[in-house]
Symmetry: C2
Subunit: 331 residues, 2 copies
């Protein structure tokens, strides 16, 4: 399989899952000290992960939790963020300009900052109250924080059982998803690698990932035009431009918002002959209970998208690492 | 001027502004009874207005306020919405399926619902706790609610002064903006009425309107492809697909997020030869104090967009009232 390292994938996921005691040590302390609300602050890809974390918690939680764009925080502020707020951030480089500026501003209001800063020597590494450094699996790290917060206030009684299943089976299951998805992904890439514009539709805990996949992968890394849209919004304007040949992909996950994606998937064939439905239900997750599958759909889609990316990169001979503008020009 | 009725425009705006005592009667009562947070619930265009209302309040307020997609509320719920929540909705038809379903669910948690339901005989009209029926100017109605809420908790001490200026000058000022913008709008429409895809960039209190203008006007009413993007996010993926001939329009308003739009506007000429900057500063608002202009930028842009729409509609001979799918097919 193209650009596929089974061993590395297994190690990455199991490594991320094994951060949980470390994460819980921090979260338990913050919970014991008391907090009023939880802010997920990001920009670009991390903004998308922040959206996902909020929707993930909304499924179960009455905790006040929201996402905040870092650049917007710098200019507009947010009076809901106070010294009693837990702010969670993530940064691979640890030097993202807008995040650094936002964290400086957060320090002035004395919010508590938990940072997943992959580069231990980056500026952000020393600016946060609690730092955890581990590459890859941002969503998983965010979900582990949210899940522990909910568990501590009694909103996630199955917490131990859920993570027992993940620790035992999840990494292998995701490897199996990538393997199973590879044929589909090749065909999809062959069909869509030159699309003028590709539409991606997502809902629920897959919406942030859909926004991110369209923008941070197809636009940023493949230089292909995309538009992403929330499934619920599809029927309120956007669908008027869909015609026979418009390429539309719908992610149908298994969380509570599945009916919203299903509605798009069921309607599309009436007006479009160039659609793709990617349904997480078609992928087994051995050892994972049915009731937890909704939470895990984004990881299934992520694995499928990885395979699509590998094939588009190869077909287009466009290495995903190159950028023409990002950090190349001044802006 | 094409499709321009000065008298009707003046009457609409002044009529909306004169709703204020009626709005305040409701808001003052809700405030006196006590509320814990404010939810702006919508879908499509009203979801966009909800986003705008939240950003508008964030500029000044520590009140917990958030927007909620109606369809998502129906399936996922939101535990922050309780019997102590004020929910604000708006609906022209009063029959939007997702809003009706959401309001039915809201009734079960006994949230207080203030509805701007234009059609007095529609299903929603009798389902809300407080109803105000007046056509047009949704944003203005939302802002009047938010402003009064903030005023009542001491966050908007200039409230009376601000609305005195609006009551006296705003409608005439907006008429003057439409007149001034018409030449520009004709040239813009002539250049862009056949774009394969048009990019719209907005920030702050113009972001919701940018999302809505792209989706509910160009896509839904002109059947032209668009993508809208928050100015802060532009640099985190999307801009990699911008080339010499990519049509990009940036709204540069005067609220706190002006620097975010300016950043895009300043950068674009390096990589793009087909951009348009629409800056609210270029439009006078006689009688309005400088410090209030940021709040009013979306109305300036709305007036300019109206003129663009009139010209695109005529050039394309595509009446804006027609829909091919919306409420035409089952979905």
């Amino acid at each position: 399989m193209l650009k596929f390292n089974e061993q590395a994938l297994l190690e990455n996921m199991n490594g991320a899952l094994s951060l949980r005691p470390k994460i819980n040590e921090v979260v338990d302390k913050i919970n014991a000290e008391g907090y009023s609300n939880v802010c997920w602050l990001g920009i670009g890809g991390t903004y998308a992960s922040a959206m996902q974390a909020v929707i993930h918690m909304k499924e179960k939680s009455a905790i006040e939790t929201f996402y905040q764009n870092a650049a917007e925080y710098v200019v507009t502020g947010n009076k809901r963020i106070t010294s009693k707020t837990l702010v969670v951030i993530s940064s691979v480089s640890g030097s993202t300009e807008e995040i650094v500026a936002a964290v400086k501003k957060l320090e002035k209001v004395h919010a508590t900052i938990l940072g997943f800063i992959d580069n231990e020597n980056a500026p952000l590494a020393s600016m946060v109250d609690y730092r955890i450094s581990y590459p890859t699996d941002e969503q998983l790290k965010f979900f582990m924080v949210g899940d522990r917060l909910m568990n501590l206030v009694g909103e996630f009684p199955d917490y131990e059982d859920f993570y027992k299943e993940l620790d035992t089976h999840f990494a292998e299951d995701i490897v199996a998803v990538e393997k199973k998805a590879d044929d589909f992904a090749l065909k999809f890439a062959e069909k869509h690698h030159e699309d003028d514009i590709h539409y991606f539709v997502g809902a629920g805990n897959q919406w942030g990932a859909t926004y991110s996949y369209a923008m941070c992968y197809w636009e940023e890394q493949h230089w292909l035009k995309t538009k992403s849209i929330e499934a619920a919004e599809f029927f309120h304007g956007m669908f008027e431009i869909v015609e026979r040949d418009t390429p539309v992909t719908v992610y149908v996950g298994e969380d509570t918002q599945r009916p919203l994606s299903e509605r798009v998937a069921n309607f599309l064939p009436q007006i479009c002959g160039n659609y793709t439905i990617i349904d997480s239900k078609e992928y087994d997750l051995p050892g994972i209970s049915e009731k937890y599958r909704g939470t895990l759909s984004p990881f299934v889609f992520h694995a499928i998208n990885n395979r699509i990316d590998a094939h588009i990169e190869y077909i287009n001979r466009h290495p995903m690492d190159i950028r023409r503008y990002y950090r190349q020009l001044k802006y």
